[in-house]
C-alpha cells in the first residue's frame, strides 16, 4: 500500500510479516503477537524491527515491549474509528521516539489529524490514492495551517503564538521603558 508523509509519497523501507508467511528479508513490521518470537532474529541479522498494533492495544501493556523497536504501526480498521489517534498520542506522551505509522484507509482530510497526534506517516490502500491523489493530501495540510491544541503535533499552536506575541509585547514594552530611561 502507498506510504505518505507530510511531504508526499515515501519509500516504504519495511516489509510486513503477514499471516502464514515466513519472515521477510530486511526491515520488518511484525504483528504484535509475533514480536517476541522473531525480534531477536531480525536484530541478529542487523535489520530494524517494527511492530503492528491493533487499536485496542493499551500503552501500559505494549510499552515494555518497545525497546529498540524502530517503528510502530497502528491499525485503523476504518477511517471513522479514531482510537488509533489516542493510542498514538499516548505512545508519544510515554516517550516513544521512533517512527509512528497509521495503517488503514485514512483519507487525505485526516493527514492533519494523524500528524497532530504524533504520526509520521500514513499507509493507506491504493484505492484511496486513486480517488485522492497526492495533491489532495498536500492541499489538505496547506488548507488548515492553524490549530488551537497545545502539545499536539509540530509547530506552534494558536495558544503558543498568542503567548509569544504577549512576551514580545512585554519585551517591547520593557525595552521601550529602558530607552525612555536613557
Amino acid at each position: 500500500m502507498p506510504l505518505i508523509d507530510a511531504t508526499g509519497f515515501k519509500q516504504n523501507g519495511f516489509a510486513r510479516m503477514t499471516e502464514g508467511c515466513s519472515l521477510p528479508a530486511g526491515d520488518v513490521i511484525l504483528p504484535l503477537e509475533k514480536l517476541s518470537t522473531w525480534r531477536e532474529e531480525v536484530f541478529s541479522r542487523g535489520d530494524r524491527v517494527g511492530v503492528h498494533l491493533p487499536n485496542t492495544a493499551r500503552v501500559d501493556e505494549v510499552w515494555p515491549l518497545l525497546d529498540d523497536v524502530a517503528l510502530v504501526s497502528i491499525d485503523f480498521p476504518s477511517f471513522a474509528d479514531g482510537r488509533g489517534f489516542s493510542l498514538a498520542r499516548g505512545l508519544r506522551q510515554r516517550g516513544f521516539f521512533g517512527v509512528l505509522r497509521a495503517f488503514g484507509p485514512l483519507i487525505a482530510d485526516q493527514m492533519r489529524h494523524a500528524l497532530g497526534c504524533g504520526f509520521d506517516e500514513v499507509e493507506t490502500p491504493e484505492a484511496v490514492i486513486v480517488r485522492q491523489p497526492i495533491s489532495q493530501w498536500r492541499a489538505a495540510l496547506e488548507t488548515i495551517t492553524l490549530r488551537y491544541q497545545r502539545g499536539a503535533g509540530n509547530g506552534l499552536s494558536i495558544l503558543d503564538r498568542r503567548r509569544a506575541a504577549r512576551e514580545m509585547g512585554h519585551r517591547r514594552f520593557h525595552s521601550g521603558l529602558a530607552l525612555a530611561r536613557e
Binding site: 489517534f85 489516542s86 488551537y148 491544541q149 497545545r150 494558536i158
Partner: protein
C-alpha cells in the same frame, strides 16, 4: 462578548476553504458518500427528509445584533426566510442547497461565526447558562470557560472521530439553567470551601436519548488551571474505551454505566496523572485574555426601583403580566433580563422569521448593549435592559407579535422538529406542541398553573429533552401509526431527575386531554404556592396515573 483575534479569523476561514474543497471533492468523486458524511456532519450539515439542514453554532448562546442580522440575511438569501433555534443554543436552517453552503459559511465567518462541530461524532458546540453574567446566584461567568473549551475542542486532531457525539455544558451559578447533568460532561464553576479558590465540579456521563442517565461527579474540585488536561484525560479514556460495536451504546454515559463511575474515575485520574499538564493547559494569561472580553457592559448607576416601571405596570395589565413571567432579576440594580418567547400560541417552538430577527437585533441595540442570548428553552433573551425602558421594549415587542407572556409556563414548550423535518423522527412533534399550546392558550389559566415544563421529542433520540420535562412527551411509531408516551416528574435543574412513564401510549388527538387531566390533578392537590414538580415529588405518580387511566378507559368505552 468574545471577539476573534487574527488567529481565530484565519482559523475559521481556513475551515470554510477546507469545506468548500470537500464539497467539490465529493462532487468530483474524490470522496465517497461514506467518506464525505462525517466531514459534512462535522461542519453541521445534515441530509434531512426533504433537504439539507445546516446547523450553525451559537457558542454558549451569546449573539450580537450584527450576528443576528447576518443570520436574517442568510435566512432570506439561502433559506425560506426563517430559522429554528434549538435546545443546544444553535440555529438551524432547513432548506439550504449543498452548493450554497460554503458561501453561507463565508457569510458567517464575516461576523465571527461558524458551523464547526454542531454535528458528528466529535465535541459539539459548548453550551452555557443563558443568564451568564446576569444571574445574582453566579459564582463566575461561565462563558470564558466555554470559549476556552470552544477553541480547544475545535478541529481537535485526537477527538474528531469519537465513538459518538460529545456534548459539554458549563454553568457558573447555583441554579442550573444549562442542564449540566444531562450532558456528556457538565462543568459547574464553584469556590473551594475554605480557600475560596475558583475551580470546577466535573460531571460525566449524563445524557438523554434512548438510555437516559444523570451524570456522575468524577471530580469534586478541579483547579481552574488544569481544565484542558483533565478534559483531554476524559476524552482519551472515552475515545479508547467507548463502545463502537453498537451506535446506541456508544455514548460515554454507557461506558460510565458499564464500568461504573468509580472505575471510570480511576481511569481518568490515571490518564490525567500521566498527561503532561503544562504542555496542554492554557496559560493563566490566555484565560485572562478571554475573560476580559466578557467584562460587564458599561452599566449606568441606577436606583433599584423604577417609578416609570411601576406606573406602566399599573396602567397596562398585559405589560404587568409580561413583567411577571418574562422578566428576570438582574444582578445590577435597575436592570433586568427579558425573555422573548419564541412560543406564540399555536406557533412552531423556536422558529423565528428573518423579520423578527432584524427587529430583535434592533431592539437589542437600543435596549441591551447589542447583546442577545439563545436559551436551551428555544427562546431569546435581551440580557441587560433598564427597568425604565421595559415598557418601551414591551410595546415594540408587542407590535412585532413577540411579547407572548409565557416564559416557563405550560405553553413554553420545548419541541424537536420531529417528522415534519427530521429523518430520524418516528412521529411528528410540532403539531403536538401546537395543539397543547392552543389548549392552554388562556393566559390567566397559564398563570394559575404556574411554572410547568412540557418537552416533546419525535423519537427516542430525545432532542426535545422529554426525559427531563415535568411532563415529557415521546412520539413513537407502531405499524405505521404515530403514538405518544407520557412521562412525569422529569427535571432539568440542579435537582435533575428523569421522568417516569405514566401509562400506555396515546394517539395524537388524545394528548391534550391527557395533559389536561394531569394538570387538573395538580391544581386539585397542590399546596399553596407549590409548583407542579414539587407536588409531583410529594405525591408520587399514583394520583396522576389514576386520572390518566380513568381517562384512557373512559375513551375506550366511548369508542365502543
Amino acid at each position: 462578548m468574545y471577539r476573534y483575534d487574527e488567529f481565530d479569523s484565519r482559523f475559521v476561514r481556513e475551515r470554510v476553504r477546507e469545506f468548500r474543497a470537500q464539497v467539490e471533492r465529493r462532487l468530483d468523486g474524490s470522496l465517497t458518500e461514506d467518506e464525505f458524511k462525517p466531514l459534512r456532519l462535522q461542519n453541521g450539515l445534515y441530509l434531512q427528509l426533504h433537504a439539507y439542514m445546516l446547523r450553525i453554532a451559537i457558542p454558549y448562546g451569546t449573539l450580537s445584533s450584527r450576528q443576528l442580522r447576518q443570520l436574517a440575511l442568510i435566512a432570506d438569501r439561502y433559506d425560506r426566510g426563517y430559522g429554528h433555534f434549538t435546545t443546544r443554543q444553535n440555529l438551524q436552517f432547513n432548506w439550504p442547497k449543498l452548493k450554497d453552503v460554503p458561501d453561507i459559511l463565508d457569510l458567517l465567518a464575516d461576523v465571527e461565526m461558524h458551523a464547526i462541530q454542531t454535528s458528528g461524532n466529535c465535541i459539539r458546540n459548548v453550551t452555557a447558562d443563558h443568564f451568564a453574567g446576569v444571574a445574582a446566584d453566579e459564582v463566575e461567568d461561565p462563558r470564558p470557560t466555554a470559549e476556552l473549551i470552544r477553541q480547544w475542542s475545535s478541529l481537535h486532531p485526537e477527538f474528531s472521530f469519537l465513538p459518538r457525539k460529545f456534548k459539554i455544558a458549563v454553568t457558573g451559578a447555583e441554579h442550573d439553567r444549562a442542564a449540566i447533568k444531562a450532558h456528556d460532561i457538565g462543568l459547574r464553576i464553584l469556590r473551594r470551601p475554605g480557600t475560596g479558590e475558583i475551580g470546577y465540579e466535573v460531571i460525566v456521563g449524563g445524557g438523554l436519548g434512548r438510555t437516559p442517565m444523570i451524570g456522575k461527579v468524577v471530580r469534586e474540585f478541579l483547579p481552574r488551571a488544569d481544565l484542558l488536561s483533565f478534559l483531554e484525560a476524559i476524552m482519551r479514556v472515552y475515545n479508547l474505551e467507548g463502545r463502537r460495536d453498537n451506535k446506541f451504546k456508544a455514548r460515554v454515559k454507557i461506558l460510565v454505566h458499564e464500568i461504573g463511575a468509580e472505575e471510570f474515575r480511576r481511569r481518568v485520574e490515571q490518564e490525567f496523572a500521566a498527561l503532561d499538564g503544562p504542555s496542554v493547559n492554557a496559560d493563566p494569561e490566555e484565560v485572562k485574555r478571554i475573560a476580559a472580553y466578557f467584562a460587564p457592559p458599561p452599566y449606568e448607576e441606577l436606583p433599584e426601583r423604577s417609578v416609570k416601571l411601576s406606573i406602566a405596570k399599573a396602567a397596562h395589565r398585559d405589560f404587568a403580566r409580561f413583567v411577571e413571567t418574562n422578566v428576570f432579576a438582574h444582578r445590577v440594580p435597575g436592570y433586568a433580563a427579558v425573555t422573548i418567547s419564541l412560543k406564540p400560541i399555536g406557533g412552531v417552538p423556536g422558529d423565528a422569521t428573518s423579520e423578527q430577527m432584524r427587529i430583535i437585533a434592533e431592539l437589542a441595540e437600543r435596549y441591551s448593549f447589542g447583546e442577545i442570548r439563545v436559551t436551551y428553552m428555544q427562546n431569546l433573551v435581551l440580557p441587560h435592559v433598564r427597568n425604565d425602558e421595559l415598557f418601551a421594549l414591551w410595546e415594540a415587542l408587542d407590535a412585532a407579535e413577540l411579547a407572548t407572556a409565557n416564559a416557563s409556563l405550560v405553553t413554553d414548550i420545548i419541541s424537536c422538529p420531529g417528522l415534519d423535518y427530521c429523518s430520524l423522527a418516528t412521529a411528528r412533534s410540532i403539531p403536538i406542541a401546537q395543539s397543547l399550546s392552543r389548549r392552554f392558550a388562556d393566559g390567566a389559566r397559564q398563570r394559575e398553573i404556574g411554572p410547568l415544563g412540557i418537552k416533546i421529542s419525535g423519537c427516542i433520540n430525545a432532542c426535545g429533552h422529554h426525559h427531563i420535562g415535568n411532563i415529557g412527551i415521546l412520539g413513537l411509531e407502531k405499524n405505521g401509526a404515530e403514538y405518544y408516551q407520557l412521562t412525569l416528574g422529569g427535571d432539568a435543574t440542579e435537582n435533575a431527575a428523569l421522568g417516569e412513564r405514566l401509562g400506555p401510549g396515546l394517539a395524537a388527538e388524545e394528548v391534550p386531554d391527557a395533559v389536561e387531566k394531569i394538570v387538573n390533578v395538580y391544581l386539585q392537590e397542590r399546596s399553596v404556592g407549590e409548583e407542579f414538580i414539587a407536588t409531583y415529588r410529594r405525591l408520587g405518580i399514583a394520583p396522576f396515573r389514576q386520572a390518566f387511566e380513568k381517562g384512557v378507559e373512559g375513551d375506550q368505552h366511548a369508542a365502543h
